[in-house]
Amino acid sequence: MENKTSKTDSRRDFLRKLTSGGAVAASGMALYSLTSCKNKSEDKATLLTTDGKLVQVSDSEIQALEERSVSPAEARQGIPGKKFVMVVDLGKCKNAKKCIEACDKHHNLTPDRPYIKVLKMQDNEKSSPYWMPKKCFQCDNPPCVKVCPVGATYKRTDGIVLIDNERCIGCRFCMAACPYSARVFNWGTPPDEDADITYSPETSVPSEVGTVGKCDFCPDMLRMNKLPHCVTSCPNGVIYFGDEIDDTVSNGEQTVRLSSLLKDKAGYRYMEELGTEPRVYYLPPVDRLFPFENDSDNFEGT
C-alpha cells in the first residue's frame, strides 16, 4: 500500500515537472530536477520541449507519462470546461459486442462483470425487439451519489460520475439505488489486483476486492483528447460521444452537432420520468441497419 502511494507521488511529481503550468522545460529548476533522476534508469530519450530546447528524459518516466494516472484526489475535479455526453443510435446496433470486449480489455474485467451490457429490449408485443447497449448513464441527478455514506462515488464538473475504490466500504447501497443496474461488484479478488498498476478512479484499474465498479466514460482517454474505447471499437458507429458545451459528438468516423442529432432523430433518455437526468441519449431503433437476430444465450462468460 505504501509502495503504491509513493509510486503515485513520483509520477505526479514527474507530470508536474513536465506538463503542468506551462513552465515545463522553460524553468531551470524543472530541468535540474529532471536530470537529477538520471541515476534511476539507464535508457534515455531526447525530447523537444515547447520552447525548442532538447531535454533528456528516462524511458521509465516516459512510460509513466503514457500511463498517466490521475490521483483519487485530482480525479474528483473533472476536466475543466467540458460536459461529456453520449448518444447511442439503436437503429445501428446488431449486438456485435465489440464495445463490451474493448471495455472489458481496457478495464481488466472478467466476462461476468462487464461495465457494458447489450440488452434485448422489446417495448411491447407488437413492436419488434432491438438491442440496447447500456452503460452507466452518468446522471446529472445521480441516485447512487446521494446514498453513498462516504462520498466514494461522486459527480464531477464534466458530468462524469466516478468511484474511488480506495474509499468504498462495500455497502452496495449505490447498487441498490441505481435504477439502471449499471454497477458491478468485486465479490471476490479480481484477477488484476496487480501491484504494478497505479490505481486511479479515472482508469478504474486495478479493481479491488469488496468495492464497486462501473462504466467511467474513460476519462483517461478523454484527457488525451481521445474517444472512449467502446466508441472506437464499435464496427457500426452506434455510439457517439462528445461535449455538450461544444455541441458536437463523434462516433469516430462522423462528427455531428449534438442538438441537431437529437432533434432530427428524436433522441430520448431511458426512463426520463425518474428525473435522474442521464447524460446518455438514445436514438429510437428505426431505419435499422440490421435485422434483429436473437442468439439464444446472451452471456458468453463462464
Binding site: 455514506p149 439505488a177 439502471y180 443496474s181 463462464t302
Partner: protein, 438 residues
C-alpha cells in the same frame, strides 16, 4: 419480611441447570461456526456468499432488519406502557429490556458483517456524508444502544443492591460485583428521586429514538428507485412490523423464562392475557399496513409492480410470502383473539410463529425486489437471476441469532428476570390496600 425473603429467593439469579448448560453450549458452538465462516469470508471476500450484482443484498440485510425490528420491544412495552401507567408491565419489562439491548447490539454487528470492506469502517466517520441514510443509521444505532442499556441499567440499581446482600454469604465474588454495579444504592429518598427522574427521561427519549430507528431502517429501502421499496408506506409499515416482531420475541422468551425459572407466581395468567391482547393489537395494525402494501396497489400497479406482486403471490416467492402472512400474522391473531389462546402453551406457539414469520417477512421484503430491476437481467451467468443464501451466509446469520440468544440467556442468568424491588413494593401496596378494606 419473611415474605420478602421468599421473593428474593424466587427471583434472584440461579445457576444453570443441565438444560441451561446444554443450551449455552449449543449457542456457543453455533457462534463459533459462524465466526469461522466469517473469517473465511474476510479472507476470500463476499464471493463466498450467494449475493451477486443483482441480488446485491441478502440475508445479512434482512437479518439486520429483523434485529432492528425486535429491538423495538424496549420502546413499546417498557416506555409506552410506563408512560401510559399500565401496571401489568412490571414482571415483563426486564425481559423486554434485555431482548431490546441484545437485538440492537446484534443489529449493529450484523450490518458490519454485510460490509464488504469492514477494514474501512472508520470511513463512515472520517468521510461521513449526512444525506446518506446509512449515516443516519450510524448515528441512530449507537444512540439506541446507549438508551437501551440505560433503560435496562437504571431500574436495576435497587435490585443489584438487594442481590449484593443476598449473595453476601453465598457467593462473595458475585456479591462484590453486584455491589459495584449497584453504584452504592442505598435507597435513600434523594437516590430514588434521581433514579425515578432519570428513568422517566430515558423512557420519553427512547420512544422518538425507537420510532426514528425503525423509520431510518425503512428509508434505507424507500430512498431507492426500486419496485416494492420505493413506497411512502414504508416508515409506518416498518414501525408496525417492529411492534409485531418485538412483542412476538417478548412472548416467546417470557413463556420460556416463566417455565424454566418457575415464575408462575409472578408472571401470572393475567399478565400473559394482557400481553397476548397487546400482540393482537400489534398484528392487526401490521395487517392494515400489509393490505396497504400488497393489496391496494393492484388497482394502479404498473407492469413492473404487477410482475413483482405476482411473483410474491403466485410466483417463486409465494410459499415464503404466504408463510409470513399466514403463520407470522393471521394465525397468531386467530389464536390470541380467543381467551383459550392466551394460555401459556398456545401463546408460546403463537409468539414463536410470529418470530419465525417476522424473520422470513424481512427476507421477502429484501430479496424479490432486487431480482426485479427495471432493465432485464442479461449478460450475466444464469445463476445470478436467483438468490438463496450460501452455507457461509447461513452459518454467519445463525451465529448472529445464537449470539443474540446468548446475550439474553446470560443476562437472565445473572440479572433478576423479574424486577425484585418493584414487585415487592407492589405486593406491599396490594397488601395494605387489602388490609384497609372494611
Amino acid at each position: 419480611m419473611t415474605n420478602n425473603h421468599d421473593l428474593l429467593k424466587d427471583l434472584a439469579p440461579r445457576k444453570f441447570g443441565l438444560r441451561g448448560k446444554l443450551w449455552s453450549g449449543l449457542l456457543i458452538l453455533v457462534t463459533a461456526a459462524g465466526v469461522i465462516a466469517y473469517i473465511d469470508q474476510l479472507i476470500q471476500g463476499q464471493v463466498v456468499t450467494n449475493m451477486r450484482d443483482y441480488a446485491l443484498w441478502g440475508i445479512y440485510i434482512s437479518n439486520f432488519v429483523f434485529f432492528v425490528a425486535t429491538s423495538f420491544v424496549g420502546s413499546v412495552t417498557v416506555a409506552v406502557l410506563r408512560l401510559t401507567r399500565n401496571k401489568w408491565r412490571t414482571p415483563l419489562v426486564r425481559i423486554a429490556e434485555i431482548i431490546s439491548l441484545a437485538s440492537i447490539i446484534m443489529a449493529g454487528i450484523t450490518i458490519i458483517l454485510d460490509m464488504a470492506r469492514p477494514d474501512r469502517l472508520l470511513n463512515l466517520f472520517t468521510h461521513a456524508r449526512l444525506q446518506s441514510p446509512i449515516t443516519w443509521d450510524v448515528i441512530i444505532i449507537p444512540t439506541y444502544i446507549a438508551l437501551s442499556f440505560l433503560l435496562l441499567y437504571f431500574p436495576l440499581l435497587p435490585d443489584l443492591a438487594l442481590l449484593k446482600k443476598y449473595f453476601n454469604t453465598k457467593n462473595s465474588f458475585l456479591s462484590k460485583w453486584y455491589g459495584r454495579l449497584s453504584l452504592n444504592w442505598t435507597g435513600s429518598k434523594m437516590q430514588k428521586a434521581l433514579q425515578e427522574k432519570s428513568i422517566r427521561i430515558i423512557a420519553i427519549l427512547i420512544i422518538p429514538v425507537g420510532i426514528l430507528l425503525q423509520t431510518i431502517d425503512a428509508w434505507l429501502f424507500s430512498t431507492t428507485y426500486r419496485i416494492g421499496w420505493d413506497s411512502t408506506n414504508m416508515g409506518a409499515y416498518f414501525i408496525s412490523g417492529a411492534f409485531v416482531a418485538g412483542l412476538g420475541a417478548l412472548i416467546t422468551v417470557v413463556c420460556i423464562v416463566r417455565k424454566v425459572r418457575k415464575l408462575e407466581k409472578y408472571i401470572t395468567l393475567y399478565h400473559l392475557d394482557k400481553l397476548g391482547k397487546f400482540l393482537v393489537l400489534a398484528c392487526l395494525t401490521y395487517l392494515y399496513f400489509n393490505i396497504n402494501e400488497y393489496l391496494i396497489p393492484i388497482f394502479t400497479a404498473t407492469v413492473e409492480e404487477e410482475t413483482h406482486l405476482n411473483e410474491l403471490v403466485y410466483g417463486e416467492y409465494s410459499f415464503l410470502f404466504w408463510f409470513s402472512q399466514l403463520v407470522g400474522l393471521i394465525l397468531p391473531i386467530f389464536i390470541l383473539i380467543f381467551k383459550a389462546g392466551r394460555k401459556p402453551g398456545p401463546m408460546f406457539i403463537a409468539g414463536f410463529m410470529v418470530v419465525i414469520g417476522s424473520w422470513w417477512k424481512r427476507y421477502i421484503i429484501v430479496t424479490p425486489t432486487l431480482l426485479h430491476p427495471f432493465l432485464p437481467i442479461e449478460g450475466v451467468p444464469e445463476s445470478w437471476q436467483t438468490y438463496f443464501p450460501s452455507l457461509h451466509e447461513w452459518l454467519i446469520t445463525g451465529a448472529t441469532l445464537a449470539m443474540a440468544l446468548l446475550i439474553i440467556t446470560f443476562l437472565i442468568r445473572y440479572l433478576p428476570a423479574v424486577p425484585i424491588q418493584r414487585t415487592a413494593e407492589e405486593m406491599e401496596l396490594y397488601r395494605t390496600e387489602k388490609e384497609l378494606e372494611p
